[in-house]
């Protein structure tokens, strides 16, 4: 493979310092910055209830950004995204809850829910953990595992997308969401007692005890504003980097014209599956964080209502526009809360707004473009230096 392109590559290597700084350090710092800002500035400023709304807004943004990879970049119409979300939520919650339950000191006599939530957010009470409590690190680990499990399922769901398109693919993905929901209602009752947990054997975990139809409760609420918005920023970075890369161009080319993409050497099989895996993994991570926000998670999380909510974010934000879907997710998640005073009329207002949006901007808020591409200043600059944009990318 010693083509003209590959000969150019070694001559253009950036310095290691630059890579570490721009590739890893700056994004992590920015994500931490956003997390800390939300936790210590925005959170206290807006009050306790709005802060819980801000958590849910963060989850919505993550879902929108992840679905955008499949529906927006790649143009595959998936309406089972909540399935991945729920799988991530249950896996993450299962690991976190049972690991914590096994570790509770029985002498303290606390209720599990109480005991589990102790030690969240910058508490050194176990005297061993660094910066965050053990539980929070465990949540991060559990969320990554949840994301990986969801990504594995994304691979399986991605496979039919190779043969199906449009409505047919939509039905398959919808089916996946519903199957997930039904399977989750078949889980065994949750175990609340430490001794009972200790008495379980491997065969009891074949069908995991995750509460069935009544839901999975008392999950330690470690997902503070800081963690949720840290991961929101990380996912936005990921989504942006995918979009501004050869992988992203391959995905976009599949949406634009599959036949041309194949003829130009894009393995569309591989890239469709990649899109599904990545989107499912991010949705699973978001699901696990959601489970740790102090909610009871129920099998309905996998249902099509949530899938549709996310599709609305993506369609209204503009298929493929990261800033568009982020903005749409924020607005549409806050809107029902802001319209609470209108009580029963709020759904009507919500629906009217959606209809209005579709009339005024049928391609979504920003179409495929990003918000900054609308600023005349950057547009002019871009046409002068076409490769500038890639260079300044975070």
């Amino acid at each position: 493979m010693s083509g003209a392109l590959q000969q150019l590559v070694p001559t253009m290597m950036p310095s290691t310092a630059r890579t570490l700084l721009k590739g890893v350090a700056l994004p992590v710092a920015a994500a931490l910055g956003l997390g800390l800002l939300m936790q210590f500035v925005v959170g206290p400023m807006i009050g306790a209830y709005p802060a819980t709304v801000a958590l849910q807004v963060g989850i919505s943004v993550m879902l929108a950004v992840s679905l955008n990879i499949v529906n927006g970049y790649t143009g595959q119409f998936s309406i089972g995204h909540a399935g991945f979300f729920a799988v991530g939520a249950y896996v993450g919650a299962g690991i976190s809850y049972y690991a914590a339950l096994a570790g509770i000191d029985p002498a303290s006599g606390q209720q599990p829910s109480q005991a589990l939530s102790n030690g969240a957010w910058l508490v050194w009470n176990d005297g061993q953990s660094f910066l965050f409590s053990y539980g929070e690190w465990r949540m991060v680990l559990a969320s990554i595992v949840g994301g990986c499990v969801a990504a594995g399922l994304g691979y399986i769901v991605g496979l039919p997308s190779l043969r199906l398109r449009g409505d047919y693919l939509a039905i398959v993905t919808l089916g996946f969401g519903e199957i997930t929901r039904v399977l989750l209602t078949q889980t065994k009752p949750q175990i609340f007692d430490r001794d009972e947990l200790a008495a379980t054997q491997a065969k009891d975990w074949v069908i995991p005890p995750m509460g069935g139809a009544t839901g999975f409760s008392d999950i330690p609420a470690y997902a503070s504003l800081m963690w949720v918005w840290f991961f929101v920023a990380v996912m936005i970075f990921f989504a942006y980097r995918v979009k501004q890369s050869s992988t992203g161009r391959a995905l976009l080319s599949i949406r634009e014209d599959e036949i041309a993409a194949r003829s130009m050497g894009v393995n569309i099989t591989k890239y469709k599956v990649r899109a599904f895996v990545l989107a499912a993994g991010l949705a699973g991570l978001a699901g696990s964080l959601y489970a740790h926000t102090g909610q009871v998670i129920r099998p309905q999380e996998a249902g099509f209502q949530r899938s549709f909510e996310v599709i609305i974010f993506v369609v209204l934000g503009g298929m493929g526009s990261i800033s568009g879907v982020v903005l749409a997710a924020i607005i549409l998640s806050i809107l029902p809360e802001a319209l609470r005073d209108l009580s029963e009329y709020r759904l009507i207002v919500y629906a009217l707004l959606l209809i209005l949006m579709m009339i005024v901007r049928p391609k979504g808020l920003f179409g495929v473009r990003e918000i900054w591409e609308f600023w005349p200043f950057t547009r002019g600059k871009k046409s002068e230096k076409p490769n500038e944009k890639k260079e300044v990318a975070p």
Partner: protein, 258 residues
């Protein structure tokens, strides 16, 4: 090993009872310029789709530079060094002109998800190389000033040229052009003929050309194959083709008989 760079031997496909392409043989040596002509519906584009793997050939074989490619999938064939343009322009219309060409560099690169997410030095270098290559290619076609424009906003002639430019960016050994002169005026056609010759020399590749404009085909092609109803009816140099009665019949109808 065949002496031909692109060796297409008696390929064919039937759609139901219709033999859209039946036993086509085209052999192009390195640096050759071969024309494929025939009336509408003769199966020229079908032949392209067979060679590039969009359809799988039901008989015969396609060999590119000694490698059998007829069982490969389209992206693998592109990687093997066969690139094409389309009769009805198939650009990635929402993407920028630069991204269209960068996408074509895709098959010469290596892409890992981890590299993409973490922006490793290799990834950054490859992206830079792709941009540099794409700009180079655009300059050949003097499209560089339009690099950040969306492809759909380009005038028709530029879109045609961008398609050729994109096809060349995959670093092919053989270029397949499907009616590149369609919709062009005479002076544009003349310029196109010049640039096809130029491309062939500059990029050292062989060209297989489908074209309806006889002037263009006769002018630049060394060998011509004529198709009608899926069958090869003539094969030879431009002058041989012009005097072939079968070809005249296919284009003009049977000669009047008393």
């Amino acid at each position: 090993m065949s002496e031909y760079l692109l060796d297409v031997r008696s390929i064919g496909i039937s759609f139901g009872g219709l033999k859209a392409c039946d036993g086509l043989t085209v052999q192009i040596p390195g640096g050759g310029l071969h024309g494929l002509i025939g009336p509408n519906g003769a199966g020229k584009t079908t032949a392209f789709n067979l060679i590039t793997g969009v359809y799988r050939t039901q008989m015969g074989s396609v060999t590119l530079d000694g490698v059998k490619v007829d069982h490969l999938r389209p992206h693998e064939i592109a990687k093997a060094g066969l690139s094409r343009t389309f009769q009805n322009i198939r650009l990635f219309s929402e993407l920028s002109v630069l991204d269209n060409v960068k996408l074509a560099c895709h098959c010469r690169g290596r892409h890992t998800l981890l590299g993409t997410l973490l922006r490793t030095p290799r990834f950054v270098a490859q992206e830079r190389a792709m941009t540099a290559r794409a700009m180079q290619m655009l300059e050949v076609f003097s499209l560089q000033h339009l690099a950040s424009e969306q492809a759909k906003n380009l005038p028709y002639g530029d879109q045609r040229r961008l398609e050729i430019c994109r096809a060349l960016a995959t670093e092919p050994k053989v270029l397949l052009l499907d009616e590149p002169a369609a919709g062009m005026n005479p002076s544009e056609k003349k310029a196109l003929a010049q640039s096809i010759k130029l491309i062939r020399e500059q990029f050292k590749l062989a060209v297989l050309l489908i074209e309806h404009d006889m002037g263009l085909v006769m002018d630049i092609c060394e060998k011509i194959t004529v198709l009608d109803h899926g069958c090869t009816i003539a094969h030879g140099t431009p002058s041989e083709i012009q005097s072939n009665p079968k070809v005249q019949e296919a284009y003009l109808g049977e000669p009047a008989t008393a």
